[in-house]
Amino acid sequence: MARNPVTWLGTPAFPRAAAAALADPQLRANLRNATHTIRGKRARVVAELDDWERLRVAGAAIKDDVLADLGGYLRQLEAAVVERGGVVHWATDAAEANRIVLELVRAKGADEVVKVKSMATAEIGLNEALAEGGVRAVETDLAELIVQLGHDRPSHILVPAIHRNRAEIREIFRREMPDAPADLADEPVALAEAARRHLRRKFLSAKVAISGANFAVADTGTIVVLESEGNGRMCLTLPETLITVMGIEKLVPRWSDLEVFLQLLPRSSTAERMNPYTSAWTGVTPGDGPREFHLVLLDNGRTATLADEVGRQALRCIRCSACLNVCPVYERTGGQAYGSVYPGPIGAILAPQLAGDPHDPQVASLPYASSLCGACYEVCPVRINIPEVLTHLRAEVVHAKGKRTPEAIGMAALAWILREPYRYEAAQKAGSLARFLARDGKISRLPGPGAKWTAGRDAPVPPAESFRAWWKRTHA
């Protein structure tokens, strides 16, 4: 089976990638500003709703219902889409989805397509696959366009160019956008205007558009996309052919379920009460919008994820990125360190499950990219217990690595000590000898694995007498 492109080939394991990101002052400043601003705004709009917790519970319950009978709901969706004139394709993996889309585009004789921002197509590397097939995909979301023109990788689910500043964006536009004005200023308004003019031509000439989906309603066959800029609406209405690539977990059973998610998603992602553009379409409508509609249902590791009783809750995810914005690790390393289109806490549980290869050192490093502080779980609009899944996936990594690693041997030895109080006490006594490493009441350098600790912190000086030794002496 082909390698799943959900994680990027050649990215170092998280600790190393993070170290490089941590040393980038521009990145650190951008992330600090962006995450703190959105965090505060989200908290304010969420506090406006006194039924927020009930909405979260409802969101989780609806998604769990879908996951409990995913096959049934998918067949229902397929039937509804076909009945309304759409064509449904099933793709087991990234390669199959990319092949289907490329064939559809070629059949229309197009060599350029416009794209709505979509995580599913980024996950499967569709743009690269289309380029190999001679088709240029044009990202029309401003931030995705910046990433694409910069030959760059995304660093956030919602704001993929969060790591760029306006001076960098101006340089990218000047270099890569042939119709950018020569005197382009680095003002946001000027940059947005340049992108608008550039994209307007693309919208008007494109024959084929490609989108993802935020939601698909099983009983009506309706696909829903939420966006802020209006570029998506252009893509979804102007071209003759629309191809939507959608992860199979994006379903909701009924149209009325959207009531819950259209409250949860905007408040969690952009911290808005309502997003500016919500587009919903059902199959094709003669004389209005695309004449052809193709829906590509993408598995790419989702069925395997569904089979995991603990890990499957990651499939509730609605890609809001609230967990990224509150994560103390993401806030400092940014998204590229995770080596996947899905960064941050959700990425640390979703990317390894979709990739399905705990032997890959980069994949194996992701579940450890968290201090388990729990801030992600607290804000997740569909109550994904991310810390629970992280520790669950860590156990899978440990299992895959086997019992012979230095860590596994150390952990087994420690467990052996902790099983018997007398061994534990003996170890305390032996360990307390480390107090002789102290200089001026500090231990500043430890050997072995302790060196990683003392690289940045002093270690506690073990007391001559542990608490239990004191207790035995004074109470027993």
Binding site: P15, S371, G374, V398, A408, L414, P421, F467, W470
Partner: protein, 243 residues
């Protein structure tokens, strides 16, 4: 009421003053505390690092050792969180019974069980408080520690900025992702130093070992101290820095 102290392995081994402070404090409030000598560790480090099997054994030991008490008190939000949130699933996985004895984090026990926010403490120092992640989010101790600190005579409390941000300890995270851990630590130390406090307190010695170790490395002059030692301090027997 038969109260057992679960000292936690970190406090038992590295911070005996904290456990002694818990004993003294609870005795002052009329509780007789027992320390079952068979106790070792709650298994959190194993569980969080990906070794649930030994963690389940340690959970089973814990349930046996503390069976028969009315309550267990631990001077750690994260160990109490491990026992309350994670042990039930682990015990089920190895088909072992739960003890049915509630485990409380110290400040929960003081406020909820003993009904005290003023514990008669005296601590004439400038203090700031870091709410550790597991006490905050797993246990939901809320403002109990702050209510206790506000009632301490002589104590000046300055609120910590960005208090709810993780300090970057995270158990083995601190060494597996040492660079990221240190970046988080730096921001936490900056917030601590911005308060001008002499003492940083919290309910978890593991987090304090991390933040305090960083402050010590920087020779910052602010020291980390477990909240139990502040609450145990009185005019007759005031806290004195031992190390």
């Amino acid at each position: 009421m038969r109260v057992a102290l679960f000292a936690t392995c970190v406090t038992d081994t590295f911070y005996p003053d904290t456990a002694r402070a818990v004993v003294r404090l609870l005795a002052r409030l009329g509780c007789t505390v027992e320390f079952p000598l068979d106790q070792t560790c709650c298994g959190q480090m194993h569980f969080n690092t990906g070794y649930p099997d030994p963690a389940a054994e340690l959970a089973a030991r814990y349930a046996e050792i503390f069976a028969g008490y009315d309550a267990v008190v631990a001077p750690s939000g994260s160990c109490a969180g491990m026992v309350r949130e994670i042990h039930p699933g682990l015990l089920e996985s190895v088909d072992r019974p739960a003890s049915g004895v509630p485990t409380y984090e110290l400040t929960e026990f003081l406020v909820d069980v003993l009904g005290r926010t003023d514990v008669g403490a005296y601590f004439p120092h400038h203090v700031t408080y870091h709410p550790t992640c597991h006490s905050l989010r797993m246990l939901g101790v809320g403002d109990r520690p702050l209510a206790l600190l506000r009632a301490v005579r002589g104590l000046k409390l300055t609120e910590l900025g960005e208090a709810e941000s993780c300090c970057g300890f995270g158990g083995t995270f601190a060494v597996k992702n040492a660079d990221t851990s240190l970046a988080m630590l730096t921001d936490k130390m900056t917030a601590v130093l911005d308060t001008g406090a002499e003492i940083l307190t919290a309910g978890d010695n593991s987090c304090l070992m991390h933040i305090g170790g960083g402050l010590s490395r920087l020779r910052a002059g602010t020291r980390a101290l477990h909240i139990a030692e502040i609450l145990a301090s009185t005019e007759e027997e005031p806290w004195r820095a031992t190390r």
